[in-house]
Symmetry: C2
Amino acid sequence: MTADPQEITLPVETGAGLAAAAGFEYAGVEAGLKASGGRDVALIHNLGPEFTAAAVFTSNRFAAAPVEWSRQVVSDGRVDAVVLNSGGANACTGPEGFQNAHRTAEEVGELLHAAAGDVLVCSTGLIGVQLPMDRVSAGVREAASSLASGAEADRAAAEAIMTTDTVPKRASVVLETEEGPVAVGGIAKGAGMLAPGLATMLVVLTTDASLPAEDLDAALRTATAYSFDRADSDGCMSTNDTVALLASGASGVTPERGRFEEALRQVCVSLALQLIGDAEGASHDVHVTTVNAATEGQALEVSRAVSRSNLVKTAIFGNDPNWGRILAEVGTTRADYEPERVDVSINGVTICRGGAIGEDRSLVDLAGDRRVEIAIDLRAGAARATVWTNDLTHDYVEENSAYSS
Amino acid sequence: MTADPQEITLPVETGAGLAAAAGFEYAGVEAGLKASGGRDVALIHNLGPEFTAAAVFTSNRFAAAPVEWSRQVVSDGRVDAVVLNSGGANACTGPEGFQNAHRTAEEVGELLHAAAGDVLVCSTGLIGVQLPMDRVSAGVREAASSLASGAEADRAAAEAIMTTDTVPKRASVVLETEEGPVAVGGIAKGAGMLAPGLATMLVVLTTDASLPAEDLDAALRTATAYSFDRADSDGCMSTNDTVALLASGASGVTPERGRFEEALRQVCVSLALQLIGDAEGASHDVHVTTVNAATEGQALEVSRAVSRSNLVKTAIFGNDPNWGRILAEVGTTRADYEPERVDVSINGVTICRGGAIGEDRSLVDLAGDRRVEIAIDLRAGAARATVWTNDLTHDYVEENSAYSS
């Protein structure tokens, strides 16, 4: 693991140079589920020869029907396909909603000659509305008939899971090993976090590595802990968050576990940063880093508290380096520190020193860049953690008040 | 205690009919501390014959200098006067800030022939800026020379502690006893909550009852638990929150403890509702009530989680009865309930029944009234709790991004 497990040090590709994992086909089609139009049903098919998988889900107790279904599917470590839809979360939809998720898996299974019990289902959109199943079924049939391998099909799938996203999110990295290359890639939608998690984040990661399901599960939990778990756009936990990892074994290579974990983690960090970079209405990406904490958990608690403050987030929208609002949040945590020893810097300017007035706030430039770096030095140990968040803007209020989502 | 300890059943006055407690003088003057102009230094003087007092403070670990000072002052149960200023929080100001709070108390003590150690100091405004002490001193002198009894002077004091408040907040109730009447009143500023608390809420409660400091302390803790602790406008805890209760004994009456507690609690509920009704930028007051919870603590946990959701708050601003966002917050709590038995109603319409789709959302009218009632029925017991909050609006973003506060 690198010194900072949230840093990207490998050549992670996010655009044209993206290499999709071998052994997978993708599709993304327009089924008429999204009022705004565009692709809204995605299908990802593992062609094997292996079908190992792992997944993590929202910890919300009102988990959506597809989450309840998919938890059962992945429990045996085998997944043949993932079907995803935007335009409806299928959450809080009662027994009918669960039957709809089940039926979608059965339809995909029939089309792909797989067991329904090996098909993950993911949905995103408005909570509390039944899906129009005739449209979903038609979309699934069209998706199955248009499955293809390669980066273009992968992009179509990434587009089909977009809701308020303005761009598709994709990332991949190729690991060179003595046995040959191994690809690890993924697509994502929504700005989100797991456990607690928000904003209906869906992520499907694919690799052509040959790895047992237990290794995938362990790697996925580490990777999400250092990536999606630390992205917190608006503090709200979704009913639908799902991060799935499918391995086809098509490379024939079993990479060293530490190297695979590192690659997977960095793909997830890239996707998490893309989610934050496209969060609803945001005008700044804010990196809240707590350093010199007694434990990593305490560093995370402090960074998370600051990243959830509406007063901090509105100040940043206003390009106001209001460090008093930051300290006020640090003061709500139970982390070890002496108030009169805490420093706060914004974009490298230590505007608070020893819990009191530091350098002049006029030295801080917040208007020049989308990215803002807040650093809180607790002087209580050697641990660190960063939480990525956004500012709170008029556009956030507009997007979330003017439209039901 | 009434069935719902958050309800007002006594004739609490908030306007012209307000009766100030006997044995107190008030003043509010303009000292040039607030950039916006207007009164900004308030003084409240207890004339006795008794000087008992209690106070509760923010639990923020970056407590402001006046909070640190006032904690010491009230620890012996005697307070002769309270001096308050807007235009600067005197928080995160280091040793110089503490010396300034101390010096202000000394100046008040000299002017009123009281010990500095019996003078509470409260400040509100921007964190991390030193107070202009020459102006504070001049303001204190002017306030001391303009002290007067009665409702008009009480109103001047209430005005002097306003920051982004648009109206002064006052409340009083007169208890009739066999020994004669007892008045309980108070002034407040800011929308706030204690432990955790927010928005630099300052409250001074005055009574002419004759009660020992221990009784005042117990009554104050109960009253704040059912009032200010359940007002949560934006989830941010302040460094300056202070609620003080001073008793002059001027009525000569020692009321029955239960009746005094009830009166004090209802004055505090009235002030808390006034704070929510005037919260920054809000267009709706939202009452989030959880009923049939296993315990009151669980009811409070659920109501508080819902009241802190930016997605719920923006939906209400948009007059959208988006119950899915409410359930998603309930799902983050550890309260006892079965998801498939939870009902949610908005303004009396049960739009979610049994954790799934209930009555049509078009039946809910949110545009007609500033007040919105959200009720969550957990069907897990008999306990209840309400948290009062606001919607999240463009004006909130504007007020908190455009101006340092």
